[in-house]
Amino acid sequence: MSRPLPALIGAGLLSVALPLGASVVTATPAAAAPGDTVLTVVHGVRGFVADVRLDDKLVLSGFAPERVTDPLEVPPGEHRVQAWPTGAAPGTAPVLDQVINLVGGEHVTAGIGLDQDGKPTITLFKDDGLLADSGSTALVVRGLADADPVKVVAGDRTISDALGGAQQGVQQIAPGTYPVSVQPANGGPSTVPTADIPVVAGRAVVLYLIGSQQDNTLGWVAQSVLPNASSAPLRIDTGFGEVPTAGDATTTVLVLGLPTALLAAVALRRRHRPLPA
């Protein structure tokens, strides 16, 4: 699984922009800045339990496949991601060594998947904008597999005609449970079993196609993406019409009974009033 490393790019060049060892990444809210990128990591390489460093800072230890991290707040710009098999000897070359470029203020998921050569690679997907509006629900598919493009269908809706690596398909969809099927885009039998996928209202369910077509290990991992905070309701109007008081006997007498009694009293007085002389 080791990845050949180009020797042309010197570590010194990179260190101009990113001094190795600088603690620019934080998992604590106290240091969060408004322009930070909110980064989530999805692990889609089976058999690769990883220690992951971001800008030389260990951020994940024993990160198992088919898991998703809590979000991490990272300053925008270029960052170096390196990953080793957990337990690798010190000084071992990383299996994955890549520079990612983050845009400030965005919510981004970094998917660890396989490239066309079957080597681990990172693909960034932007999570903002998956939901068309604040009340929407969406089903999203993203490619992290070493495979030919596939067609993905949920019920009678096509989510992607040709999902390849580093690509995605997005469909706004009604909440519910959908049978999601996969077929090679160029025809032929499916190697991924149809799976029932629950899609909860008000969020985006994201499915990542992982594994290797050649090894017959294609499958899904899943992530649920909530709308961003600006989509929270502006108000809660939980009243339409006055609260009935019929259940309160005392109030009923006061509200309905008292006027009735007064009217009756007036009528009686009129009835018994002496005729003018």
């Binding site: 180009p6 790019i9 570590a11 990179l14 000084g91 693909t123 969020r203 905070a229 939980t238 006055e242």
Partner: protein, 224 residues
């Protein structure tokens, strides 16, 4: 082994909520596609001696959770389907609801009997965030499960039942009333921070012209 850490109050999407970085419009077009500049980055710098895989300090390590389809299904099955607030109401059914994209308010059922769950927020049993349940104090002359919510006693055990049959018990901590126009959205609709249950209805002065109440009654409860 995955090392876990407590979920902080600003780790997820409320990072934007608290810091303002979530201001990106949700009405932008879907299908933004991967950010190709990063996805296709060929850079693979040579390893340096200091970059070793040996962990030294796990205090800042990220937490992670299963991303399998079974985990997704289990999460969906935690959506609330019923709520019981002893002493103030009979058990009530809960419906998943979202923000009304037209008016921007929570899309509530046209019924006094049903309770709305803000489905874009936390579900019962989730490690972080607030489970928001709201119901009309009255609707078209009918009273509902939250009509007497303002009278709930501190310490009352509220039980929320999920679709998978699990029961989640919360103890009432506080009841407050505030003008609807001054709703503390950042606190109410939390997707991170300590888990809580928030029950909401209307109260205060009634405006016959708008058929509306001036205030929201907000009851906060914590898991027990």
């Amino acid at each position: 082994m995955i090392r876990r850490r407590p979920v902080g109050p600003a780790l997820v999407l409320s990072a934007g909520l608290l810091t303002g970085c979530g201001a990106a419009s949700s009405s932008t077009a879907a299908s933004p596609g991967p950010t190709s500049s990063a996805a296709s980055s060929p850079a693979a710098p040579a390893p340096v001696a200091s970059a070793t895989p040996s962990p030294t300090d796990d205090s800042d390590l990220l937490d992670s959770a299963p991303a399998t389809l079974d985990a997704l299904r289990a999460s969906e099955a935690r959506r609330p389907v019923a709520v019981l607030v002893p002493g103030v109401a009979q058990p009530a059914m809960v419906e998943a609801r979202t923000t009304d994209p037209v008016g921007g308010g929570l899309d509530l059922p046209d019924s006094a009997a049903a309770v709305a769950w803000w489905a874009s927020g936390a579900a019962p049993g989730t490690a972080a965030g607030s489970v928001v349940l709201a119901a009309h104090v009255s609707f078209d002359g009918q009273t509902g499960p939250f009509t007497r919510l303002a009278q709930v006693d501190p310490g009352t055990r509220v039980v929320v039942t999920s679709a998978d049959g699990s029961a989640h018990t919360y103890a009432v901590q506080s009841t407050r009333s505030a003008p609807k126009t001054a709703l503390d959205r950042a606190e109410l609709f939390r997707t991170t921070g300590p888990p809580a249950l928030v029950l909401v209805t209307c109260g205060g002065a009634y405006d016959r012209r708008t058929h509306s109440f001036a205030d929201n009654v907000v009851v906060t409860a914590v898991p027990v």
